[in-house]
């Protein structure tokens, strides 16, 4: 599906997908957190409490649009868009079924790694435009963190790209073999950890860091603009889990067709739950420790993985 109208249709579709994943994601997160903390989570609203989030969304939509007096209005207004749009567009290369992706391009993997990085700009815009010290600190932390974690994340994906010999996600998923999983296990771990950091989620949520920076880069945001930050967080989590399942876990493998789509969904949901599990179990790291983890642990691990894959390819 290419061309102008195809882009519009897919944009709307991905927007709806991100919206749904936000509603289900917030609900799931509160359920997961509830079960970890010996309580129930939302359970009184219709459909197992899922409608709780629909009500929340209605509330956020109808709230007054508040601008802090000292904020730079223009940047303040567009910053949430810079967070959400890249996430929505990055979904375009995901092969949702065996042999089909909305945009089947030969540089799909590169596209996915590059486009969501634009949201660093959103974080910086949001942080600086509010002219609030908490927000500026959060914005700076977020930018530094997201840029550093790009490196191990991209390197970890490179290992699978080497094995597949292609950057086209559809072909890569078709090529995927079960023995790749043990070979690329280190890369998968690196990808998982780096994705959490890339998404600014716990235990690496230093940019929003409620106990130090109140709300980090979205301290002064409220209403629907705040909801867009949430959408980018949960949409980003879904995108990262989808991409992780496609690249590292074989996507629709071992089935194809409609059942294959279901398999992909199950893998994605499991990964998302793992993301939440990490957030609700671990304490938060300190900024300098976070940077040290990226450069001194994850990046060398990813490099070692590339060497291992190189040896395996030579040995084949």
């Amino acid at each position: 599906m290419t061309g102008y109208w195809g882009g519009v249709v897919w944009g709307l579709g991905a927007g709806v997908l991100v919206g749904i994943s936000t509603i289900l994601g917030v609900w799931g997160e509160r359920k997961v957190a509830g079960h970890i903390q010996k309580r129930y989570g939302p359970n009184t609203a219709p459909v197992f409490g899922i409608f709780q989030l629909v009500y929340d969304l209605l509330k956020l939509l109808t709230k007054e649009d508040i601008h802090p007096k000292q904020a730079r209005r223009g940047l303040f207004n567009i910053a949430p868009l810079f967070m959400t749009t890249p996430i929505i567009s990055s979904l375009v290369i995901i092969p949702f079924a065996a042999g089909w992706a909305p945009l089947d391009t030969s540089i799909g993997i590169l596209f996915f790694l590059a486009v969501p990085s634009i949201s660093v700009l959103g974080v910086l815009f949001a942080g600086w435009s509010q002219r609030n010290t908490y927000a500026s600190l959060g914005g700076l932390r977020g930018a530094a963190q997201m840029i550093s974690y790009e490196v191990p994340r991209s390197l970890s994906v490179l290992a699978v790209v080497m094995l597949a010999g292609t950057m086209q996600p559809v072909t890569l998923m078709g090529e995927w073999r079960i023995w790749w999983l043990p070979v690329t296990l280190i890369a998968f771990v690196v990808y998982f950890i780096a994705s959490i950091a890339e998404l600014n989620r716990g235990p690496f949520d230093l940019a929003e860091c409620d106990s130090e920076l109140v709300g980090g880069y979205f301290t002064d945001y409220s209403g629907i603009r705040w909801a867009m930050f949430m959408m980018s967080e949960y949409g980003g989590m879904t995108a990262a889990a989808l991409f992780g399942s496609v690249v590292f876990l074989g996507g629709t493998w071992p089935l194809s067709g409609v059942l294959g789509v279901l398999v992909l969904l199950v893998k994605t949901v499991l990964l998302v739950i793992a993301f939440m599990w990490a957030k609700w179990t671990f304490p938060r790291m300190r900024p300098d420790q976070l940077m040290a983890t990226s450069w001194k642990v994850l990046t060398p691990m990813a490099l070692v993985q590339i060497v291992i894959v190189g040896v395996v390819i030579a040995w084949l």
Binding site: A33, I36, K38, Y134, L137, C209, S211, E212, F282, P283
Partner: protein, 382 residues
């Protein structure tokens, strides 16, 4: 100054060459100030170069109000001092009045005071440890600690009728005897099962590698500095000073129990929080022994009048609260109202070292250091 009045986040210092320094106003309304502490923080990047603590946002003038109340009316006021450990305030004040009057408290009342205050210690420490974990981002740890606290508070509510401000210990004894609804059995069951829950908490946070990285070596308070500043309680013992009023100056019936005083070594934030957790085990041991030794009898001294008028004089009584040495200095002029009441609050004294400890650490460590001292601002500001 308008910023000051509104208490909003601060300005960027842009005059002069030092544009690098940023002033961040933490508090008085901030998630990690454990109440209404305001810390004016000067940051060089993320590193704290100066931290000024501004207190007094919760000042209600309790010591002054006490001068206009009769001796028994002061007891509920003391509840509002350290609202996480109301029992201690009740007890310290009651001991001061009893000493002025020369009242002997019945033995059963003493045992009940020990039991409730040790329960209070568990409840208070769970709040302290939990919120210290929450400052490091361990939200689930916080909720699980509160789950233990909740069970303790439920028991205290069944005994005294309220969950936070008990008004239970009063001059001459305690308000109520143990209720006849299986309270003792429930307490024994709690003493049995809580150690396992504490063990789980210990492993969840203090065994976690990220938590160790975050708290070990952060805000190290040496034994000399701690003594010089008058730090008491678990914060002092974490620095390696073996001092506990319950053992060293045994008041009430504490000399009849065998328990260990938990002493740390390094005096960092990790040790301070963990000492509190370990003290909960000892508190449970004391409660079990007290339940075994307790015998039926009166719970209030006979013939305490409604309107107490102690002979003129002054007393100072101190007990070991969850935060340290809690002292009450009481001056009587022979009338029915105290002439002066002064509370020596451990949280206030402990807080005095935070500003100097935070310098050189990052702003992330600042909230951890504040949390590790377990300040309760009702007691700091009084």
């Amino acid at each position: 100054m308008t910023n000051d009045a509104q208490g909003t986040a601060a300005e960027i210092v842009s005059d002069g060459p030092s544009v690098r320094e940023m002033v961040v106003n933490v508090g008085p309304s901030h998630p990690s100030t454990h109440g209404v502490c305001r810390i004016i923080t000067h940051l060089d990047g993320e590193v704290v170069t100066e931290a000024d603590l501004v207190i007094g946002y919760l000042h209600r003038g309790i010591e002054k109000i006490a001068e206009n109340r009769t001796y028994l009316q002061v007891v509920p006021l003391t509840d509002r001092l350290d609202y996480v450990g109301s029992m201690y305030n009740n007890w310290a004040y009651s001991r001061a009045v009893e000493k002025l009057m020369g009242i002997t408290v019945p033995e059963r009342a003493e045992y009940l005071r020990v039991i409730t205050c040790e329960l209070q210690r568990v409840a208070s420490h769970m709040m302290a440890v939990g919120s210290a974990g929450n400052d490091a981002g361990a939200t689930s740890f916080f909720v699980l600690a509160f789950w233990i606290r909740e069970q303790v508070v439920d028991l205290l509510a069944r005994l005294s009728g309220s969950r936070l401000t008990y008004n239970y210990v009063r001059p001459g004894g305690v308000s109520f005897d143990i209720p006849e609804d299986g309270w003792v059995e429930d307490l024994r069951a709690l003493c049995k099962k809580t150690p396992a829950a504490l063990e789980e908490l210990d492993r969840l946070f203090f065994g976690n590698v990220i938590a160790k990285d975050r708290t070990k070596g952060i805000g190290v308070l040496s034994a000399e500095d701690a003594i010089a500043a008058g730090v008491t309680g678990p914060s002092l013992r974490a620095s390696g000073v073996d001092f506990d009023l319950r053992r060293d100056e045994p008041y009430s019936v504490y000399d009849r129990f065998s328990f260990d005083v938990v002493v740390g070594e390094s005096g960092d934030s990790f040790e301070r929080s963990r000492c509190r957790l370990l003290e909960c085990y000892e508190s449970l041991r004391i409660i079990e022994q007290a339940l075994d030794q307790m015998e039926p009898g009166r719970t209030t001294a006979p013939s305490i009048p409604r309107l107490i008028a102690p002979p003129a004089g002054e007393v100072y009584e101190r007990i070991e609260s969850a935060r340290g040495t809690l002292g009450v200095y009481l001056v009587s002029d022979g009338s029915v109202r105290p002439w002066r009441m002064k509370v020596r609050s451990p949280a206030f004294t402990n807080l005095s070292v935070v500003g100097t400890l935070a310098v050189g650490h990052t702003i992330s460590d600042l909230v951890i250091i504040v949390g590790s001292f377990d300040p309760v601002f009702g007691e700091v500001d009084r």
